[in-house]
């Protein structure tokens, strides 16, 4: 199989966009093309464009967004498709870019994920996100992602002894990381005392979906992220040495959350990670830095276990020991994660890859993980019913 790498990365400031969806995608794309050293114009050499977006239709009433992006960037006659896999759309698009190049049909693919969410109210955004649940058995009940995360958290607390304080530690850690990431949505570290210990904590940090509180849940953000994928045999064409995509794994689980045999397991995460490790020829111990889909703080803990970084039920102990912060044994969500960097759905999977590339290149500034050689990203679609794990490796 032809080897595939990442030659360029781009990322808008997550938060509130001043520009349209397509213009926002274009900003991230141009940064990635520049980073790769690709000159825009007639001889651009981009063969394929993938756009990851979950809400272009529902939120922005726009279709064929990938074609629109090709147009504003004038990348014709590049092929173009929009890809949707819920909140894992971004990693799915990167996977498709990988396949496009590995198949030999393309040499260079531009993958851009983005979501313009703040054009609707928070209630509408919550409803929009819930459209990924089962239409009859879940969505029609008013069930939402926070609702399932809350019910999952309760089981996790009862079974493994995770506490609300553990969750708050994850939140504070990720907000601390985000202070070193200029593109993060939230640039402010909450005080652990204020959000969990103080008598006013229930006011400052009220419950959203018991036992999850506001600070356990990612904000609603606009944003876009982009990567330029290339065949490794063409690495010389680009400005920087490409970071290699060493492994990709993906798996689906039951759509209906209530049906999961062991409700505290995230089988799709486990299987996706196993497949990615197998493809990369690596083990969890080889991973130096990880971006894990912390749409809710509990998910960072649960995913870190299912991905093999810690034994099942012990992820929160690693958080308590500080192992998952920058400087710890295996730093998680150095970018700030979804929690603090923000979670523009279609952008997130691509944004995770952007962060890993910056870490493996040594470009991560104040949040740099020293000597990082292998990075893992886990992008979580549905309530864990379609999960993509990606492993990047620094080429020596």
């Amino acid at each position: 199989m032809r080897k595939v790498g990442i030659a360029g990365v781009g990322h808008t400031k997550f938060g509130r966009s001043e520009v349209s969806l397509v213009d926002m995608l274009a900003l991230a794309a141009l940064e990635a093309l520049d980073d790769a050293g690709i000159r825009t114009g007639r001889r651009h050499g981009v063969d394929q464009v993938f756009v990851a977006s979950m809400g272009a239709g529902i939120l922005n009433r726009q279709s064929s967004v990938a074609s629109a992006l090709v147009d504003t960037l004038n990348l014709q006659p590049a092929m173009a498709e929009t890809v949707e896999n819920g909140p894992a759309s971004g990693a799915s698009a990167v996977k498709l870019g990988y396949m496009a190049i590995a198949s030999g049909m393309c040499d260079v693919a531009l993958v851009v994920g983005g979501e313009l969410m703040r054009v609707v109210t928070g209630w509408e955004a919550t409803d929009f996100v819930a459209t990924m649940l089962h239409p009859d058995a879940e969505y029609a009940y008013g069930l939402t992602l926070p609702a399932f995360a809350g019910m999952f958290t309760r089981l996790y607390m009862d079974k493994y002894g995770v506490t609300e304080k553990d969750l708050a530690m994850v939140a504070v850690k990720n907000h601390e990381h985000a202070m070193h990431n200029p593109v993060a949505h939230i640039q402010l570290v909450p005080s652990f005392h204020a959000i969990i210990e103080d008598e006013d904590a229930p006011v400052i940090n009220p419950y959203v979906a018991e036992p999850l509180r506001v600070y356990d849940v990612c904000p609603v953000s606009d944003g876009a992220a982009a990567v330029v994928l290339c065949a490794m045999d063409l690495a010389d064409r680009f400005r920087k040495k490409p970071v290699r995509i060493a492994g990709i794994g993906q798996a689906t689980d039951t759509h209906v959350v209530a049906e999961r045999e062991v409700p505290t397991d995230l089988l799709a995460v486990r299987l996706a990670a196993q497949r990615a490790y197998a493809m990369a020829g690596l083990k969890p111990e080889d991973i130096d830095v990880a971006e894990l889909h912390d749409a809710f703080t509990i998910l960072e803990i649960a995913i870190s276990e299912e991905a093999g970084l810690f034994p099942k039920g012990e992820g929160h102990l690693a958080v308590r020991r500080g192992e998952t912060r920058v400087g710890g044994r295996i730093p998680i969500n150095t970018s700030g994660g979804l929690k603090a960097k923000g979670h523009p759905l279609g952008a997130t999977g691509v944004s995770q890859i952007v962060e890993l590339v910056r870490q493996l290149r040594g470009e991560a500034g104040g949040r740099q993980v020293e000597g990082a050689r292998h990075g893992l990203a886990v992008n979580f679609g549905g309530f864990g019913n379609n999960v993509v794990a990606t492993i990047l490796s620094k080429e020596e």
Binding site: T126, Y141, T144, P146, V208, P211, L212
Partner: protein, 115 residues
């Protein structure tokens, strides 16, 4: 008319599903018979949600996952404030969402009467 709620039993291997599926996960069968889901069940987990999606005129709503004696697990709304993991609940069917031009029916669980 409020429709009943059902599980679907694979006629080939007997495995039960809710909601309906086109194919049995166990044996690949494609024929199912409807089995009423009613009576008492056990609450496996629950939450109270304060940020409801569009279309709900309430400050909060309780949700839970319930296991019926036949092993089928379902999600539903909780019509009681007094919730605990492991408690017995009774399934009722009611309007879970008021839609434009149509309402949506589903499980609304109540605290079971003491035995």
């Amino acid at each position: 008319m409020e429709p009943g709620m059902y599980a679907y039993r694979c006629t080939a291997c007997g495995k039960l599903f809710h909601p309906a599926r086109a194919v049995c996960r166990e044996c690949g069968g494609r024929e199912f018979e409807a089995v009423p889901l009613e009576g008492e069940g056990t609450l496996l987990t629950y939450t109270r949600v304060y940020a409801l999606p569009e279309g709900y005129m309430k400050p909060w709503l309780g949700f839970g996952i319930v296991e019926f004696p036949n092993g089928v697990r379902v999600s539903g709304q909780m019509n009681t404030e007094d919730l605990a993991v492991g408690m017995k609940v009774r399934a009722t069917v009611g309007t879970v969402k008021e839609g434009v031009g149509r309402d949506y029916y589903g499980f609304i669980f109540e605290k079971a009467a003491q035995a």
